[in-house]
Symmetry: D3
Subunit: 340 residues, 6 copies
């Protein structure tokens, strides 16, 4: 089944190793973005994955397309035109020094898009699932309009809509986010909500903001997830990642799923983190993959969280793992094995 | 004597070695810009060099300041505030493949500046020479206003103004450039005009556009330089670099100077070029250094062109050479020596 | 129109910069191969390009697929299975030190293929042109059989067959090559023959073996090309690259084309070479692109040779250039320009 | 006393830092192999260490020789000839993502050797100890024959034989391994058996396969070691490394020794692992060094395990440490010191 | 207020990543030194920071100056002249393998200085605080004389003197250190004493030498600090870093301050260490910054230790952090946050 | 036949690619030295090559030993002890920017040696040829004494002595050099004299100092070579490299040999130079290899100069080439070939 993801892809520039931007004289260059990361994961897991965005008509847009294609994503629908490719500078933290992100994403080609450039009739033909994150409507009123138009089309044509709330405080206020998401959520069938997303994007209090104690707030998360299904009756699948983050390298992760009224919980993974980004996207992709392949409740959340924690061990925004890599983690002690 | 240069500094991102952007997975990062390059050269040559610009109030702005300070430039007057740091992607060519530049400089902190943020009374106090290039007024109407205000102050207070015409077709049209430069040139005492600058920036026909045969157009250049001095009587020093560019690596360079009615020419340097950027800035800095230290006509142009061709052998935008490095090139056969 | 190329892709391992294998402690890794290089060029030039081969069912096979996809090649037909990915170690020469290649390609997945694994009926459906080089049948008797089967199908279905003779003395003897190519050539419509190919692959004397004086042997090449068209009447397009190679960096290149009885010659390009491999593949791809788009005789050879010499300026086996890059070289003095 | 080690050396290719093969565009290159690693350790510890193998007669064989020589191993007996140098791709894991090895070692020069190429009379003259691992006879029937011939010579001439069982499931089945090792073990005086080696190579049940709980199976290991000495009376020294592996970075290590009927145990080392390979070879070398220098029981196992855990902190296959480095670890808190 | 720091700056050469010197074929190059590190920290925290030393009159001296200027330190007082730039090779340890430093600092320009080259009247005019560490007088009798002359001037002119005892056993014996420090301490107002400094530099028993149990020796440290204030009545501020070092990566840190008779203690930070050098310098700079800005007792020690542990997460000798980075660590759970 | 070379080996630190020291943040590290380079070349060419020096007893000395061993040199006679390893910083020039060397070699272990540490009776037993360059006696009066003692022993025992005059103006004056070399030359049988060596080391006028016109001074060189044989009758083999150096990359090279009264000249090689160091050492090694294997006059000089120009294409001080590499250059057009 074809999955269409819609969002923005940026050039990510990261100083080498653990250097700070102030001392960097080179940057590792990669291309990523929440929905693009999901699209790549879905393709690597063997799904028919298509990505939608608008890229500038220059060499950087070409390079972004190349990244998606390299990992098997269909980019034939990506628009090209005026504007720039958004950039974000990623300064990896260490121990007590927190990771730092400098966004430079204004005036991207997608930010300058007109909603009418997206012909959803054509774009969604043959698509079996539509995926976006809260970042996409936050980019501009036009992208918000485009997401709304896509959602309407999907509901009319029984295409399930997946939304990772993905609140970004540097892009919009909680107030604005709630206003927009409240309009979009009625179209959503599957929702991913992590940490502050509940409150910032939906106004639902589920997490107290203390990243060190996410897992012990499990009951509160459950209550928040129930509230989502109550408010938005179409949305009967809600999934979350719960985390106890002790330092940049040291954290514990678990997945929580509310699936048509039933909760399932994954095991808790103590992690030594190499790169703490895009694990939420990996979780979303794992969840979608599981739904596409009719994984049962426990397998579903186990698969999604295993995909998510694997991302913490991979350099770059893309979760370059196969299904067998994920299943290896799902077995107890997967990290210890060396097959030779 | 203190020299104040005014312009924009950008982050330059260059794929490693000779890679193309399409295949790059890292970029060498450096900070440069026409006037910043001049400021660094002047500092490295031992002058009191101060740089004026506006940088964003983020880590990239800090890094740009750090680059200037590292090589001895006084950055205490640089403004900080909203906006981004402009970026340019530099794809080095080879042989018949031309070098490629992708600009991403819109909405920089300097592009968003208001002319009134510059208090020239304070900024130019104690300054002995003021330097800008044609890029600075091309950035925005406000930077144009700021340059004009600075020029007026300089003329009132007998501070010589140096202008490198530095026409950039990606920033403004020839028509617009001529309109602006015609208003600014009456304040300029020393002018650097290379290749297409004569026609694009001033409307004076001096160069036929064929980069392979610049040197044989020497007489035409001379006529153009004379015309500059006729049109703008305050400007009695005009200097040019003449080039025969055969391929990315292979070119020949010479300097030409009109100084109060007298022409002097440098020798012609056959060059194996490592990086063909910022040689014009190096020439400008060499010229200013010579003027500041009362070099005679022949020494003046010889020093400026030797500084310029040295830049062709240096990685990055900055001409990291000392006066003795330049004098070594001025001697015949400088490249051959190995002192040990 | 869809072009199917059939051949082998290998992992290329090259010491960094100009290091020798003896001192290398890392290798740049890339994936290439004569026909894969052609397929990538065709895709980058905007054609519908499909690649056929057999890759091992391991991470290296995945990476090879990724490279092709990254640059737009359709890899959906690539077989996967037992065997290894061939490797070649590439030690770049300098000046008088010649470039060195160590092949380690035995027992590759393609070398172990059975000809019956290729179902040409399916594979060639909808294909408008079929491309292989002399390397493909040299790999094993089974690949030879597969090429023959493909050729037969093509001729029956009016699909033009392009063959780059590409003789490799390390893979088979001239005697064996001639035996095989004599069987295949009757199916070929467009033939590329460089340097020793005439004699080694076809037994036609056209080049005296002196790489320093290829261009002055133009008349002898012409005679050889005529002889090809006489021997193999279906083949009325023959193209060659003629070279004077003075040292690793310093050479002169021109293209020669016999197109339905008419010779056209390109200009001669003096080159400063960065990496002297795969320029023949770039030439073949340029030729095919021109034929697909009905370029006229002179434009055809000019385009093909410009594509070829551009490859000499690119790192890696793949000619990562666009049509506009090629057209820039076709203009006199393309290497000199810097658009900014 | 001269020690001769006999085995295979390969080119190890590892993506930079923690990259996956799928994203790698360069590989760190090193040359290693179980017995070669032992030979290097012995040389670095000051012993007269000689290595025996067959390398291809090409630049890669030269480079492998160079690596051995660099660290002091005598390579004068290494044969050269047809075949390739085996390669293995090493993808370092992280946290829950396990380390991945892709072997590409078929048809190596050693795999193609004929047993008669080894003239043991000459090769073993003056040798005081002979070392091989279970990998060597697994390579081919000819290497198995060669090992057997060497063992016979050794026993006849009172040269102690050391065997690290080193079972490799990718090279042979447990059934085949047991058949061969049962023929070789009667010649062995000193045996190293880790984890699954007992069962796979000897058919002795000592370890339940759970890498996370090796240390708590100590009594079972002891029973297995006793059984070895019972079955093979010549073999009265048996040593093992016991490990609790929690994740790629996090594990605990201890050494266990049965020496002429007496067990000694080392302390348990909690380790933060940089590279989890070749620690068994380091252990073997530490054990041999201790035996050569008459270390007492406790010192013997302490030295061997300290050498082994040090390897976990070193990049590459070779344990580049000195005796004083090892003794520093043997002191409590060695890792904490900084002498300046 | 201007702070003058006086000491030696060296070229630090470190093998890439965690390589050993024996295998390194490149070194990361940086310029640092105890007092230079302090000067850079003070500048980055916004203070008027000036550095005093003597550098060789060559390119390496230029590069050292450039490093200081880059981060905002005033280098106008640095002397230049004969001699070399000291070098130290830094081999980063891992887990149980300890970090290794090879000094090559003899005959540096500063080691060859004559005390009379420092004109303290001029150098200390306008200076509000003077900082040196025990390394400076250990370099030569002349630097000792220079420090003494500076101290005398400071006391006469009410400039507070800060001394980090910084004992280096490779530079002088404890006996010699005590003799010299006993002469200098009467001039010191603020003293930093870590670990063995108490005993080696002052002959005061406060730490038992066990790096794994520093924190539990807190009372003994307190007694030592009291003794300092009793012996040297001018010195009423004494600060220490207490550490439990378990392995190269794993340690716990806390700060202890005696300020005019009152003890304050920071929280204990469990750290995953990236680079365990120069944390003491970072602590000293944090302390001085706090004193300059009248931080209260608890804030003072909290700020200093937060600055210190941040250094453990930064590559190189320089603590490239801002005040807001430090304050982020002072908040609970600072390392966990990711602001985006 | 065993050749013993005696000299100093240093750590060479070179900024990456063509960077200047001022901008470098890493250095490529290699170990080399005139005589060590010769020793490595001789070993790589298959000779029994032994090196004599004194290295410090630290990790850098170990690394230097490792480099020599890696390429097959016998290091068993190298002394170890107090002192440092000399360092030289190598800043590669480009085009008109000359290459720059910063020596930091004072107080090396060899510079601190006592002549009596060398027991020539033992060291020269079984040696068939002794090689030193003018650098060795320039290091200290003790190394001068050692060279003299070695020479005396050699002459007494009919061991031919080879001396490359290798004048270094940064190490001693021409006056001092002549005084010493005049004492040593009577023991020398084979002498290599390049460029200024004639005059600076021997006081013989043969070269006018213009590096751009060495080849046209051939007759003057010949006269100088004759004068050497007249002054020092034992020395009947004198060889020189003649060069026209136009820029860092562009030069022409030829070899000239006076062998027992007969002159032979090599062809002239136009070179594109990658790294212009140690070509004289490569020449010396080529000459010695030829003499050891009884090459005829023309073959002798052809071989030596081909070895020398090959070095210009190799990174680092060591001429990592085989005899077949050299013979490939000796054939016309060697650089053009690509065997595949």
């Amino acid at each position: 089944m074809k999955v269409l993801t819609f969002g923005e892809m940026m050039l990510r520039l990261k100083p080498e190793a653990n250097e700070r931007i102030l001392q960097a004289d080179s940057f590792e260059a990669a291309y990523g973005g929440a929905e693009a990361n999901v699209a790549v994961s879905l393709a690597l897991l063997g799904n028919d994955s298509q990505y939608l965005s608008k890229f500038p008509d220059n060499l950087l847009g070409d390079a972004a397309v190349g990244t998606l294609r390299r990992y098997g994503v269909d980019t034939s629908k990506v628009l090209r035109g005026a504007g720039r490719l958004g950039i974000y500078f990623f300064e990896k933290g260490a121990s007590v020094r927190s990771t730092n992100v400098v966004y430079d994403r204004k005036d991207s080609a997608l930010a300058l898009v007109n909603a009418t450039e997206f012909d959803w009739e054509t774009l969604l033909k043959g698509v079996g699932m539509f995926y976006f994150s809260g970042i996409t409507p936050a980019i501009s009123p036009e992208t918000e309009k485009a997401v709304m138009a896509a959602c309407e089309y999907c509901v009319e044509h029984d295409i399930p809509v997946v939304c990772d709330l993905n609140y970004r405080g540097k892009m919009w206020s909680a107030e604005k986010a709630q206003e927009v998401m409240n309009r979009l959520m009625p179209y959503v069938s599957i929702c991913i909500a992590n940490d502050e997303d509940f409150e910032a994007a939906l106004g639902i209090k589920a997490f107290d903001g203390n990243m060190a104690t996410g897992i012990s707030q499990k009951e509160s998360f459950k209550e928040g997830m129930m509230e989502v299904t109550r408010r938005y009756p179409r949305c009967q699948v809600v999934a979350s990642v719960l985390r106890d983050i002790h330092s940049v390298e040291d954290s514990r992760w678990m997945g929580l799923l509310l699936n048509n009224g039933e909760f399932t919980e994954s095991a808790v993974y103590p992690m030594h983190v190499m790169e703490g980004v895009a694990a939420g996207d990996a979780f979303g992709a794992g969840l979608v993959h599981g739904l596409l392949h009719d994984f049962s409740g426990q397998e579903l959340i186990d698969f999604a969280i295993a995909a998510s924690v694997l991302k913490l061990t991979i350099q770059g925004d893309l979760n370059l793992v196969s299904e067998s890599d994920i299943r290896n983690v799902m077995k107890a002690g997967g990290g210890a094995s060396l097959n030779r």
